[in-house]
Subunit: 539 residues, 2 copies
């Protein structure tokens, strides 16, 4: 067989050659714009030429700080197809972390949305490698800025050559992109994506047994393009000639609902918070959502209630999935098996509430306390992954050794797998409570507590125990109306019929607030230290 390389160049070329009339619908600061793939492909070549003019060479990192829009899409191809590396930067990270990763990645050029400019102006003096800034704006002139040297994206394209040709000798294992993921402690960790990895991941997205992305789709990636390549959707969509709808900056649930209705979106993707917002919007106003064939949900486990509301109340197919920055991200997806389609609606929603089944192309193993777990939906273990779109290291980072062992990536996620091979996230390894040689899921206890009418939120952490090594303690925030009226005993009685006796928390501590990260996740480490100190002082 021919040794042709799996590179991104074939994707943009295919869109231009076979789907020149198909569209990218892009919402920017000044409204909705429409581009054909013919136009996008020409602009992409111009951007590649413009970057070359600015001195970007093969292997150079080019950072983007931008929302989901057509210019960001052009960068998605112009940078890797010219041999450079697309470094998407999470604009929601702290300014210190942004400065760290720009320097750590050694970004040579930054592409910045004009509304993100103020953030970068505050920290650009710390940048050690950046040689040029390109501002992405609809305005004719550049905004006032202290950045230097600075270029206007559209003017750069206008003065560039659209006869630019992508190099045809790219190595499929060459880096195409990179993304940093925030760590529990310390600086973010970088993951480098190869051309080969992205091509194979895009194929997985296009499989019927993957996400089934195709030319017939109209795809709305709500998940940001600075977050694991918007789950790879822009790459797959361009390759297959899928119509893309880009929601742009500062969107609301209302805007998402309107875009779905107006553009007849067939597939959209985002985190549970987004879908909770959309559900609320759909409850308040009637929209035509009948074009949707899949609401792809990842980033965190969606509560069963959300899935039920989408599927039964609004008749919108919901599709759970799981992945991480280190996994490109698609790992499992909740495609029901043919014979599961005959189950009752309730049973089907139970299956959909799990994260799903491994997509073709990857391998997984789940390591419990006694080796590989039994697939019984109960035994817990840490998920480890192997495959051509799984990272093999953190970029120039000593923390590689913690997660990458014996050719496997250890996710740090504790999961169960049922008889049919469906995986369910149970906890993070570091949050799991190891009691008397058995494992207790903090997440299961939290979810149960949060179904109690008095509970606003609950976090369960481990405290050291002489006899049992660790025991669970629950931290509970009551709803305003219930404060002082609901007792720990009442909550424990509520839990009792749902769990084995030894799972029940030794103590329930009421709090006013549970400490959280910038993205709203419980800061369990802080909480654990706090609770342990508290208990120690009391004893």
């Amino acid at each position: 067989m021919m040794q042709t390389a799996l590179t991104l160049t074939q994707m943009i070329n295919r869109a231009e050659k076979y789907f020149p009339k198909k569209q990218v619908v892009s919402r920017t600061a000044s409204g909705i714009k429409r581009f054909t793939y013919k136009e996008i492909a020409e602009r992409t070549r111009r951007l590649a030429d413009g970057l070359e003019t600015l001195g970007v060479e093969r292997g150079d990192k080019v950072g983007t700080l931008a929302w989901n829009h057509h210019r960001h899409l052009e960068a998605y191809f112009a940078i890797p197809c010219s041999g450079a590396v697309l470094h998407t930067i999470n604009i929601r990270l702290s300014p210190q972390h942004i400065a760290y990763i720009v320097n750590h990645a050694e970004d040579k050029v930054l592409l910045i949305d004009s509304d993100i400019l103020p953030l970068i102006e505050k920290i650009h003096s710390e940048f050690t490698t950046v040689q040029a800034y390109i501002i992405m704006t609809d305005e004719e002139e550049l905004p006032e800025t202290t950045l230097e040297p600075v270029y206007h994206y559209e003017k750069l394209l206008a003065s560039a050559d659209d006869s630019y040709e992508y190099p045809d000798d790219l190595d499929e294992n060459a880096p195409a992109g990179m993304c940093y993921t925030s760590a529990t402690t310390g600086n973010p960790k970088g993951v480098v994506y190869s051309h080969r990895g992205i091509v194979l991941h895009s194929m997985a997205l296009g499989l019927v047994d993957g996400a089934g992305v195709s030319e017939k789709d109209i795809a709305l990636p709500v998940v940001p393009m600075f977050h694991v390549n918007a789950w790879g959707l822009p790459f797959a969509a361009v390759w297959f000639g899928t119509t893309l709808v880009m929601p742009g900056p500062y969107f609301t649930p209302k805007l998402i609902a309107e875009l779905i209705e107006q553009e007849k979106v067939t597939i959209t993707a985002g985190v549970p918070t987004i879908w909770l917002g959309l559900l609320k919007e759909l409850d308040e106003k009637t929209y035509d959502m009948s074009s949707l064939r899949a609401v792809l949900c990842g980033g965190a486990a969606a509560p069963r209630g959300i899935i039920h509301a989408f599927e039964k109340k609004h008749n919108i197919p919901f599709m759970h999935a799981y992945g991480l920055t280190e996994t490109s991200p698609l790992v499992v997806i909740s495609n029901l098996k043919s014979y599961q389609e005959q189950l009752s609606d309730d049973e089907k929603i139970n299956i959909k509430a799990m994260q799903g089944i491994l997509v073709p192309g990857l391998e997984m193993k789940v390591i419990g306390k006694d080796g590989e777990i039994k697939w019984d939906g109960a035994e817990m273990g840490e998920l480890a992954l192997r495959g051509p779109w799984i990272a093999s290291e953190y970029y120039k980072d000593e923390r590689t050794a913690e997660a990458f062992k014996d050719g496997w990536f250890y996710t740090g996620d504790v999961v169960t797998v049922d008889e049919e091979g469906f995986m369910k996230i149970v906890d993070r390894t570091k949050d799991l409570i190891k009691s008397g040689g058995e494992w207790i899921s903090s997440v299961d206890l939290e979810n149960a507590l949060m179904t109690h009418e008095a509970v606003f939120e609950a976090a369960v952490v481990a405290v050291p125990h002489e006899q049992w090594q660790e025991r669970p303690v629950a931290c509970v925030v009551l709803k305003d109306d219930y404060t002082g009226k609901t007792s720990a005993e009442e909550l424990l009685q509520f839990l009792e019929p749902q769990f084995a006796k030894w799972w029940l928390p030794d103590e329930i501590i009421f709090m006013k607030e549970i400490p959280k990260t910038s993205v709203g996740k419980f800061l369990k480490r802080t909480l654990r230290d706090h609770v342990q100190k508290d208990i120690l002082q009391r004893n």
Copy 2:
């Protein structure tokens, strides 16, 4: 990203692990048998162990002479996953050609269906490398045979070890399979398939924009497993956990119709002749064909009439495709674009009568007399292909140089491409008539002639011409009732309104029969020599 290899081992492992209950329905000489993927996977490991016991080592070729059934499927995985090379042998080739390719490939072991045994007994004395024969039979004892040493497939499996483990260090570029394709002159030419090529080709089959093969399908490969890996369907089906229905030996259109109805087949694949037979059966008897989502048709262009009958008369979706032994085979497939779905039924059938659009992952160019052709549906050129599942050579064969140039495979097929990128086969390069610097398609003239009520069959060939280099001459066989009653003038008048004047044949020669190959194709080379000599003698 991890450097995990793309090998077939992951496919059979995935079927066993995730789809142990799914089935392979296998029709053999003694009736229909059902196996779960759990059983198939165990038997496959046993076969791999058995072959190892017989001395098969990495890189060794193991030939199969067999129909489509579960044992052949087991060989499809046991051989390549153990590191050997699956050499499927076309049992319809002449005995001399079969002996040639067994020796040329250097097959070490042959797996043979018991009904094919007599054919092999006639030629086995010519084999220079074969060290063992394994007979695939439902009978408890081996048939009488002169082959030596000879093994009983089921007994080999029974005495083998199912704890056998496939090697985990296979190179993705290592050979996994091979298949010989008959040449116009001389011996068949061998094509070697790599693990990587087959994995990527299987992904293309699973794409919505490919053939959309998935776990939800029930696939019936009518195309023989000795013919380009049954178009790759067994590999894709096992990987995705698709139910497989294997039609076994000597099937009839009636049997195919019954299997589709009884097993609720969703996708089936074969050549136009098969579908012509099925149509006739459907006209004679009523079957429930409502489970079918695609009748995949390749190997030769299907006449528009067949497509119309499937789609309009029987409401069965028809899916044209194109490929060759050298291309794994899937190259183009007639998936309509989203905006083409709005066209009239007639226009849609016109599109489906073309071979289709390039699947993601490959590149094509079409070289006409003045370089790359215009995509206007009219200009003709030779199709050249590039990509990871396109062969790079003929196995140990000097004819490689004729077809593989500058990193491209030149198919020898003359095609047009329309504005939307849909490709249509027009002719073979060697059959094209080059007249006055322009190209005339022999196939177009033949198809037009064959729509005349008096014509049974027609072949058009080039004869040398002083002024125009070449001119077309038509050879026509009239139907019995019309012999002697239909004139050349009448046929020329019939053609006149359909073609440019310079396309019309200079002469129409009536014949009793047109010489054909063993698979029923016109022997144009013989015909051309014959006609040229005939005309020369007359002048």
